[in-house]
């Protein structure tokens, strides 16, 4: 609590005593200091991460594509800069993993779908251009639910990713690969995308920090579209400081995305203030129902008490339309998806059926053979909801419900600065446990979809563990473009606790738990 944010910041750096040779365990901001001081090189760091990948990736299976040669070339370029004494950006030489839904020029981008198995983008997403300006090292592309549709990463056409905390459980989804690789120290940080919770929920389940910025904060150019009015790119990191650094790198309006908003982008590291005195935190009673796992409720209440103990004011609030968020989401997102995925017709890129009778047959066979079951299910729901005779009853109705959900938040932020909730109603569940029942799987998103409808910034930070050792996430939500307040509360919480420093069993012994 004493001193300003910078002295706190320095304290962390100097007390971090992880041994050399375990560089992959460190945060980007600590590594940046070591790179700048030339204690280590970016090539050593990158080699260290790939050694870790060789050891644990066969068990975690977080990556779909590894780009080691490219990564070492990027690392070497960063090293040249550091050796020349150039003023290097905060993320120069930092190894990062990218969700395979973000277009990477010259590097296969599959969306974990068979339909894009051979797709090599001719351009970089805007976030990639921005990261390359920083001089990052791209490790590879991470596994996900096909086209980001899912909450467990089990909908990948290629492989199942395992949660590093318990290899029998899922890492969450849809950005499960990006969460798992940061948790397993097979990446320093990563990017994911969040439509209904696809960054926050896997971050919670894998015990890392994950943030969805305000809708419009980050350009979606080059993010393969799922539900365009909800999709947003954001970071996974090992602490809140790294989260701020990644936000600094990727935020900003972009002429290539008309939905990116032209608002001032602050230096988010200025929000890393270990002080919440005077801030009001709202606790929505609708999130603490019987459906919430009792241990999760306990850990989240404890976390809120921690924030209260350092000066935050806590008050109960009501978001009365919370219970309609999932129903609303499973109309709006599939409706937008059904339109967005119409482009996969076997003509311009990706898979095509080899022996169609005619053009229509080619469309149908191509799509039916190469889309997975969940993608087909969402396309069917969305097409139905937009079809003649049903559009008013479903799509229009859902858009109106969305207004009510958004109004709840507008009213709440008149009274409080930040809203705190659990990120997920349960800890990571067993692989296969919910695949038979799509509706059960959809309900995994009950804590995250409301904020998505309102386009709010939201972070999940580690806030403890349930008795069997699985991590629990605390979700902090802010008003549109109030990332700074969210980061300040998250940072303060992190300074009072050491949950984010815990490593999964797969990490401590170098082997499998």
């Amino acid at each position: 609590m004493e001193g300003d944010s910078n002295t706190e910041h320095m304290k962390i750096q100097t007390t971090d005593t992880s041994p050399q040779g375990k560089l992959e365990r460190l945060t980007a901001h600590v590594l940046h200091e070591k790179l700048k001081a030339r204690e280590i090189t970016a090539v050593e760091l990158t080699e260290s991460v790939y050694a870790r990948i060789a050891a644990v990736e066969p068990h975690v299976k977080g990556y779909l594509t590894l780009t080691k040669e490219l990564a070492l070339a990027q690392a070497s370029r960063a090293d040249t800069g550091f050796q020349n004494g150039d003023d290097m950006p905060a993320l120069a030489g930092i190894p990062i993993a990218i969700k395979d839904v973000i277009c990477t020029q010259g590097v296969r981008t599959t969306c974990a779908s068979k339909i894009l198995e051979t797709f090599v983008p001719p351009y970089d997403a805007t976030v990639m251009t921005k990261l390359h300006e920083q001089g990052v090292v791209m490790l590879g592309k991470t596994n996900m639910d096909e086209f980001a549709m899912g909450s467990s990463t089990e909908n990948s056409a290629y492989q199942i990713t395992h949660n590093p905390w318990d290899l029998d459980t899922i890492p969450g989804g849809s950005s499960g690969g990006s969460a798992a690789v940061v948790s397993a120290d097979t990446a320093i940080c990563s990017l994911g995308s969040d439509t209904g919770g696809s960054i926050r929920q896997p971050a919670a389940l894998c015990g890392v920090v994950g943030m969805k910025p305000t809708y419009g904060r980050v350009s979606r150019y080059g993010l393969v579209a799922f539900a365009s009015s909800l999709d947003q790119i954001g970071p996974f990191t090992k602490d809140v400081t790294d989260c701020a650094l990644l936000l600094n790198a990727i935020c900003g309006s972009d002429a290539m995305d008309a939905t990116s908003v032209d608002v001032h982008v602050p230096d988010f590291t200025q929000s890393l203030i270990n002080d919440v005195k005077g801030l009001k935190i709202g606790i929505p009673k609708e999130y603490f129902t019987e459906a919430l796992d009792a241990e999760i409720a306990d850990r989240v209440h404890t976390a809120i008490a921690v924030l209260e103990s350092v000066g935050a004011t806590v008050e109960e609030i009501s978001l009365p339309h919370t219970e309609y968020a999932i129903a609303t989401y499973y109309i709006i997102a599939p409706a937008e998806a059904s339109a967005n995925l119409a482009r996969y017709d076997g003509v311009r890129y990706g898979y095509r059926n080899e022996s169609p009778e005619d053009l229509m047959d080619m469309y149908k066979r191509t799509r039916s053979e190469a889309f997975g079951e969940e993608v087909k299910r969402r396309i069917m729901i969305g097409t139905f909801a937009l079809s003649a005779g049903y559009q008013d009853a479903y799509y229009r109705k859902a858009q109106k419900a969305r207004t009510l959900i958004k109004s709840d938040f507008d009213a709440a932020f008149e009274k409080v600065d930040v809203i705190a909730t659990p990120t997920s109603p349960t800890p990571a569940f067993k692989i296969g446990e919910r695949t038979a029942d799509p509706l059960q799987m959809y309900l995994s998103d009950v804590m995250t979809t409301p904020a998505s409808h309102a386009g709010l910034p939201g972070i999940s930070v580690p806030c403890g563990f349930v008795e069997n050792g699985l991590p629990v996430g605390l979700q902090l939500l802010g008003a549109p473009f109030a990332e700074e307040k969210v980061l300040r509360v998250a940072y303060t919480f992190e300074q009072q606790t050491d949950h984010h420093r815990q490593k999964p069993p797969i990490a401590t012994d170098g082997g499998v738990s």
Binding site: G216, Y324, R348, R352, K364, K376, Q399, G455
Partner: protein
């Protein structure tokens, strides 16, 4: 709200350019019925006087139709090079003479 039938599923599948065998059709009919039943929860809400939200920053975004007050965001109309044709066609399952190739859609005998 509607109940979904096997015929309804076949119609929607055709609209979506998907095809299913008998078993899949029944499977989807049953699953979509359950999902739509759950979504029927929205009928509890009185929304007659609630405007729809298609986007959270309506002032910012180019929107056709009802939100006439929305200001349009337009880029300057500047000619710029597009991606090289060969690079774009490199991803195509079939390309010929600088064009995408598709199964024949016009019968030459007419």
């Amino acid at each position: 709200m509607a109940t979904i039938t096997v015929e309804g599923i076949r119609h929607v599948a055709n609209l979506a350019r998907l095809e299913f065998n008998e078993e899949e059709t029944e499977h989807f009919t049953e699953q979509l019925a359950r999902i739509l039943d759950y979504i029927g929860k929205l009928n509890e809400l009185e929304t007659d006087h609630v405007p729809p939200t298609s986007h959270i920053h309506p002032h910012q975004v180019f929107i056709m139709g009802s939100e006439a007050e929305a200001s349009h965001v337009a880029k300057p109309d500047v000619v710029k090079p597009s991606y090289p044709r060969e690079e774009v066609l490199a991803n195509a399952p079939e390309a010929e003479e600088g064009y995408f190739g598709v199964p024949r859609v016009v019968d030459r005998s007419h």
